[in-house]
């Protein structure tokens, strides 16, 4: 029986059991991979993921075979060799022949497993021959994507596209405030701006980190690699079909570890080319005006994605580490001090110098004029001066 058909049977059996167990409330949710309860890796869309799945199946079935033999013998013994059946215990013990035999046989099985594992691992770690490179930077708690180069793709033109990818702020809010999350589509695995890549292209991902260790993982790609400060790690993917693929950070990176998902949109090469050109020309980038109203409007959005995690939605702060911005002396004081704090960071406060002057001006203005705060408006020029 193939694994697939067995899986289908197990799916049905399992799902029925689950419904009995947990009620049907959660059964009709829209899962981010697979359909409801699954018993295997999600369907692979890259050669690497298929390799991982095959390796998983191979070792799994070898283990099952060993288990059938060993547990079979044991279970037979548990029934046949019990005192209540009036058996007299045998007295045999110590046999060098048997011991040698059950050392060598497992060794041979392992050698077989090791051979195919070696082949697949060498293929896995070979990141040569890539057609384009994307730099992925892990940060507490979002990802930054930068298109580094792209031989044989529209990327050969000058200029780089770089953007941040944050969790959908509504999802995080619903999670932290214990709202009803069961109806949210792609709950916790949705971002404000997904990574876009072309299909049928060998892409190298370079991974780095600006703070703690994160791990970039898209299960359907079979790719999981740590992003580590001081290191540049690399891995690769060749996505075979179009689709939206989701993943999550897989290395404990602090408080909001569960809130930095990964969403990758794999599109046709032509569509990718169009998207990339648009990104480069700045389309899709939100233009921020310099009026107070415009700054406030843009600042509110930025605050929600970048600042609210620590300083909270109403600027009320969280504990001693994350001071309240509402009524804060510095926020209500001279602008320069406030700008410097956001630009350069201090202690637990990270630096935000990778944001544009306009974005910084917007969010600082928003902080200075919300929740009862009354202070001066900060213009992009002020930020530029303070850099």
């Amino acid at each position: 029986m193939s694994f697939k058909s067995l899986k289908t049977i197990k799916d049905k059996l399992g799902l029925t059991a689950l419904l009995v167990f947990s009620g049907s409330a959660l059964a009709d949710v829209d899962p981010y991979v697979g359909n409801g309860a699954t018993y295997d890796f999600p369907d692979p869309v890259t050669p690497l993921a298929r390799t991982a799945l095959n390796q998983h199946h191979e070792s799994f079935w070898i283990c099952v075979a060993i288990a059938v033999v060993v547990f079979g013998v044991m279970i037979y013994s548990l029934f046949a060799h019990r005192k209540s059946r009036g058996v007299t215990p045998a007295t045999f013990h110590e046999s060098t022949t048997v011991e040698v035999l059950w050392t060598i046989v497992p060794f041979v099985i392992l050698a077989v497993m090791g051979a195919s594992a070696t082949k697949s691992l060498i293929e896995y770690e070979d990141t040569s021959g890539s057609e384009m490179t994307i730099k992925v930077t892990g940060k507490q708690w979002y990802w930054v994507y930068e298109y580094v180069d792209g031989k044989n793709t529209p990327l050969s033109k000058k200029g780089k596209v770089r953007f941040e990818s944050h969790i959908n702020a509504d999802h995080k809010k619903a999670s932290l405030n214990n709202l009803d999350v069961t109806k949210i589509k792609n709950y916790l695995v949705d971002v404000d701006k997904p990574l876009v890549i072309p299909i049928k292209t060998r892409i190298r991902f370079l991974l780095k980190s600006d703070d703690v260790i994160h791990s970039w993982w898209v299960p359907k790609f079979g790719v999981k690699k740590d992003s580590i400060p001081g290191y540049v790690n690399s891995t690769w993917a060749y996505v075979e079909k179009e689709g939206t693929y989701r993943g999550q950070c897989a290395e404990l990176c602090g408080t909001y570890h569960a809130y930095m998902p990964i969403v990758v949109k794999a599109v046709s090469q032509a569509e990718y080319g169009k998207w990339y050109t648009a990104q480069k020309s700045g389309a899709g980038k939100v233009k921020i005006g310099t009026s107070k109203a415009a700054l406030m409007k843009a600042g509110e959005k930025i605050y929600a994605t970048k600042c609210a995690a620590c300083h909270q939605a109403e600027g009320q702060g969280l504990g001693k580490t994350f001071p309240a911005l509402k009524g804060n002396a510095m926020v209500n004081g001279p602008a320069l001090e406030h700008i410097t704090m956001v630009l350069k960071g201090k202690g637990a406060m990270p630096k935000f110098d990778d944001m544009s002057d306009a974005e910084l001006a917007a969010v600082i203005t928003y902080e200075r004029n919300s929740w009862g705060n009354k202070a001066s408006v900060v213009k992009p020029a002020d930020v530029k001066k303070a850099r």
Partner: protein, 521 residues
């Protein structure tokens, strides 16, 4: 020792009051202290686990904010490893090793007292610290992105002192105080496994101490061992930690192998099939445990040659471990088995530990490990080897030797209830975690996408039942200790098939045993 003190030893019993426990140098008292301490820690660590499972029962954040949740997972791991499992094995070693080798006490009784009493202090400091950076405390999250870590570092240091002193004591006792005629290859397997475990402890606890010391100076004194910006290396931390951490997991399982090798022959009424190969297998596992550490960190980006080496070495561990399982099964084969509680827990151990071994072998396959790594598949794996592995054998050992320690039989009916409740609920808890892991749920997540909801719900139900079942164990042990009923009185041999020096002395074991060494044929 002159004849006068020997004479005194024969007659005085246990002193009374609090000072008996505070100042005791008696291996049985210290053994009891260790066991009670570890049981309290088991309940405490279990309470943290209940918190984790309550939060994960439904998607969304219901009870604990993410930072508190991280603290719960961290403290659950630290307390179970350093507070429950390790001290429980040291407690069993204290009680049993002198009685098994015919020694009057441990070789270094005052140090024995000291190594125990450090523990409650260390545990208190750990509770004060309550860190939230994971029990593996990876840099730079622990060094640069956490608050005060001094209490945590010193707690780990103290735990290390305690373990090293305990290990030296065990080695000194085993090597110097065996009864005449008990050669190394006649030692009971529990003694053998502990001798090897003690060497592992002495080898790796200083490495852990080194890791936390570097962490301390990085945090407070401006060094940059693990700080990339200062020329240090965050991955170095992981290498140092797992050089400790992998032998550590064998420290928590080798004595368990010893215990099962006592219980299965007893209730099969048949000699252990391959004593010699069991000893060699234990030594091989101990050796291999030093050369597999980086399989915990396949995703950090090692050279492919390094990954291959650690994959092969890890797979090799399956060989001696397999030898052990085959030997236990062969011991049962054509025996005359009965199924008292210790045997039930031991049989469950052989099944479920082997299951954890299978997932361990799968995790060794590096290409697949990239998918398994840091998911609930790993969580399922190490709970199968640590809960149904280590903890189950500790419980089996408690039931097995309880009549010897207390002089009373425990309530067999309740023991069986405890067994079935624990075994069913532990599987309801951890088996679905294999599936949540394969589907892609990362570990240490306070909240998760909806597709993982069903299995998490089942795991939580199982966990609550498993946690509550252990209160039944507490009741059984207390009832056994306090029983005054004549029909509960244990015989000296206790179990029909039991063999070994500890079964030749009276039940309960007198306060002082083997003041005159027995003769071993």
């Amino acid at each position: 020792m002159n004849s006068e003190t020997t004479h005194d030893d024969h007659h005085h019993g246990a002193p009374k009051g609090l000072t008996r426990w505070l100042f005791t140098t008696n291996h049985k008292d210290i053994g009891s202290l260790y066991l009670w301490f570890s049981f309290i820690m088991l309940l405490l660590g279990g309470t943290y686990a209940m918190g984790i499972r309550a939060e994960l029962m439904q998607p969304g954040i219901q009870y604990f904010d993410p930072e508190t949740f991280n603290m719960l997972t961290t403290m659950h791991g630290l307390i179970m490893v350093f507070g429950a499992i390790m001290p429980a094995f040291v407690g069993l070693a204290n009680w049993l090793i002198p009685m098994m080798i015919g020694a009057p006490d441990m070789a270094l009784p005052r140090m024995n007292n000291w190594s125990f009493w450090i523990l409650p202090v260390a545990a208190t400091m750990l509770l004060i610290a309550s860190p939230a950076f994971g029990w593996t405390f990876y840099a730079p999250l622990s060094t640069e992105y956490s608050g005060g870590i001094a209490f945590f570092v010193f707690a780990v240091h103290l735990l290390g002192f305690s373990s090293i002193m305990g290990s030296i004591n065990i080695i000194a006792t085993i090597l110097n105080m065996r009864a005449p005629g008990m050669t190394l290859m006649k030692m009971p397997l529990f003694v053998w496994t502990w001798l090897i475990t003690a060497f592992l402890l002495i080898a790796v606890m200083p490495v852990l101490a080194g890791a936390v010391t570097m962490m301390l100076t990085d945090h407070y004194f401006g060094t940059a061992f693990f700080k990339a910006a200062g020329g240090g290396d965050p991955v170095l931390f992981q290498h140092v930690f797992w050089f400790f951490g992998h032998p550590e997991v064998y420290i928590m399982i080798l004595p368990a192998f010893g215990i099962v090798s006592h219980i299965i022959p007893t209730f099969s009424r048949k000699k252990l099939f391959g004593y010699t190969s069991m000893v060699y297998a234990t030594a091989s596992i101990a050796f291999l445990s030093f050369i597999v550490w980086a399989h915990h960190m396949f995703t950090v980006g090692m050279p492919v040659a390094g990954e291959l080496f650690f994959m092969y070495a890890t797979m090799l561990i399956a060989v001696p471990t397999g030898v052990k399982v085959f030997n236990w099964v062969s011991t049962m084969w054509r025996g005359a088995m009965t199924f008292e509680t210790p045997m039930l827990f031991s049989i469950a151990f052989v099944f479920l530990f082997t299951l954890g071994g299978f997932s361990g072998l799968m995790l060794a396959i590096t290409t697949a490990d990239f998918q398994y790594h840091d998911t609930y598949f790993v969580v399922a794996h190490f709970h199968y080897v640590l809960v149904t592995g280590s903890l189950f054998t500790i419980i089996a050992a408690a039931y097995y030797w309880l009549p010897k320690w207390t002089g009373n039989m425990y309530n067999e009916g309740l023991g069986k209830w405890h067994f079935w409740l624990s075994t069913i609920s532990v599987n309801v808890t951890f088996f679905p975690m294999h599936f949540t892991g394969l589907a892609g749920m990362p570990r240490r997540y306070a909240d998760y996408p909806l597709q993982f909801a069903d299995f998490n719900f089942i795991s939580s139900i199982g966990a609550f039942v498993f946690g509550l079942s252990q209160l039944l164990f507490l009741y059984i042990v207390i009832a056994c200790i306090r029983s005054k009923k004549a029909e509960d009185k244990a015989t000296d041999q206790v179990w029909e098939g039991a063999e070994g020096l500890e079964w030749e002395i009276p039940s309960p074991a007198p306060y002082h045993t083997f003041a005159t060494p027995p003769e071993i044929k």
